[in-house]
Symmetry: C2
Subunit: 348 residues, 2 copies
């Protein structure tokens, strides 16, 4: 078991729990022999679900967690009081090293707070960002941060840029990823106080490929691989992506029903259109990692189906084999040493 | 001429000047007998363009402005030094009361700065927001603020809510417009410092129909009529709308070229699809007013064609006949009186 990547799966989280998380786990086990799954949740429920499937029993264990944290619960309080919830149990397993990763479609707030409090941040990490990949016409980009900690400082954003670069390079396989900061114009002097404070710091970073500002208009065209912003803006971008995409699709469908001619055309283009839409669907790309923690925590959409949970579990293999947490620690340490050296030189 | 709405049009601004602004002005004159147009720009160029058209000469005058402010110029400096530019000339006409409104597709920065400095704000207005209408599946919403003044305070956002309500009610004809603040969750305790500071103030406003937070995902579905946010976020929303829309359309078109079947279907749905896309195109809805100024200033897209300029000119009729600037002044005065009264009551 030691050479397997051990993933704790929150079987009680999300709109379709426990059915979809259980199916996702079973599918992941079928897809890779390198995975061991802990299904965390109400034992009797999970065993009942599992009885529907054939799966390698030596690579799956049920971990009983009788409590469930609801989406509407205030996160800090939920983490503190529901010690036997699937979220607290799964995160604690990561902290103790019993699991390498925790995957959950449950309360975003509870997962974010719990990740920081229970798993803990890598030494040197000031804030742990939630970094989903978003579709572009060229492939995908990493949007960092979309978490719950708003009102960031420039030093946070610089760390996001470094962590995001590591993720895109070693998990997504993008060589020398282009890093850009979300801004309201391309010029260096534009932006709010946070962006103006961050821009010169990013320009000084020799260990990332900083290409400057990116306007929101250019994000869907894939002009950058790592899109740095503070969480409020990231959240707006992520959700508007979803909203505009969904609204347009519904309008396109309506538009096709307006005449006999377009109805026939609609039937003919339907399969091709469905494929296209899938490639631009944010929910198709597995979960968002919470970067900079001592173990891996992946947040999947509340509306996740088995396919997303399966993909998120499989994503953990690359994350562990590439030792992303270790690489983040090293990079931040090196950056600190470099800054101190430059500081000394300036003093001398 | 006194009963006509006098609109100064920047004939040198935008990617297609002077051809498209001139055509837009001529089209507006044909569409309404209540309009008088001042075409502001290089006289010889404009007269040459005008010679292509037949138009009511008694309702159009060319105002010579030999200088042009380029998009890349730092706005404050441009406004200060280029006194004979079309932007400074047009805005000065509004200040002096020679024109009721100024419509420009030129440098956004110069129009925003010039609007505040040259036309001046209505008494009581702390900041003048740029408020474009954006398409939704139900119609349109007003996105306020998308301007250049970032890092707003709660009191600014409260004024935006009031000004936006007036615009939607009296210019767009939406009775009792629903006002929402852009947030990262529906709960009152969510948000960054600015939103948390603004939310309770909006709740207390008896003169607007505040419905709470709106997540970016719900904006394209038309859940609110007036979408309040600070300018950095507004800018991101506006440009991402454009970006996601454009990227999706190009993907849909590509998708239709993948097989013989979908190619035929594509031809059949093309007219219906084009109509649909038009209804969701941000550039179709005329210009964005800069609200809270002593006259009307309308900023149209840099890529505006005649149709957008024509629509923006016609929009000025409603703005003037409804005395929007006067209504804004009154509403803000009433709000101030109300606040002072409540302050006194609390002291007593």
């Amino acid at each position: 078991m030691d050479n397997l990547v051990k993933v704790a799966v929150d079987a009680m989280g999300g709109d379709y729990a426990p059915a979809e998380p259980v199916k996702g786990a079973v599918d992941a086990l079928a897809a890779s022999e390198n995975i061991y799954v802990f299904l965390v949740g109400k034992k009797d429920l999970l065993e009942q679900e599992l009885s529907k499937y054939t799966y390698p029993k030596e690579r799956l264990a049920v971990v009983h967690a009788p409590e469930v944290i609801e989406t509407a619960e205030p996160p800090v309080n939920a983490i503190r009081t529901k010690k036997d919830s699937s979220i607290v149990t799964g995160l604690s397993m990561v902290r103790k090293g019993e699991a390498d990763a925790f995957v959950s479609s449950g309360s975003t707030g509870a997962v974010l707070v719990g990740g920081q409090v229970l798993v803990g941040r890598v030494k040197g990490v000031e804030r742990s960002p939630l970094a989903p990949v978003i579709p572009t016409v060229k492939g995908v980009s990493l949007l960092i941060d979309c978490g719950a900690n708003v009102d960031a400082r420039p030093s946070h954003l610089v760390q996001f840029a470094r962590m995001g670069s590591i993720y895109m390079e070693y998990v997504m396989g993008v060589k020398n990823p282009r890093v850009a900061i979300v801004n309201i114009g391309a010029e260096e002097e534009k932006g709010n106080a946070l962006v103006k404070g961050t821009f010169p710091l990013l320009k000084e970073c020799k260990d990332i490929n900083f290409i400057g500002s990116i306007e929101a208009r250019d994000i869907p065209y894939g002009y950058a691989d790592v899109i740095v912003c503070e969480a409020f803006v990231g959240n707006v971008i992520l959700k508007l992506y979803e909203g505009v995409g969904g609204a347009l699709i519904s309008l396109v469908k309506q538009g096709m029903m307006t005449s006999a001619r377009s109805k026939i055309g609609g039937l003919l283009v339907k399969p091709a259109l469905k494929e296209t839409m899938k490639s631009f669907d944010v929910t198709e790309y597995g979960g968002a990692p919470l970067l900079g923690l001592k173990g891996l925590v992946v947040k999947t959409h509340g509306s996740s189906r088995a396919i997303e949970i399966r993909n998120s579990i499989l994503q953990c293999i690359q994350f562990k084999s590439q030792d992303i947490s270790g690489k983040i620690r090293e990079k931040l340490e090196q950056a600190k040493v470099q800054e101190e050296k430059e500081g000394e030189e300036e003093t001398v």
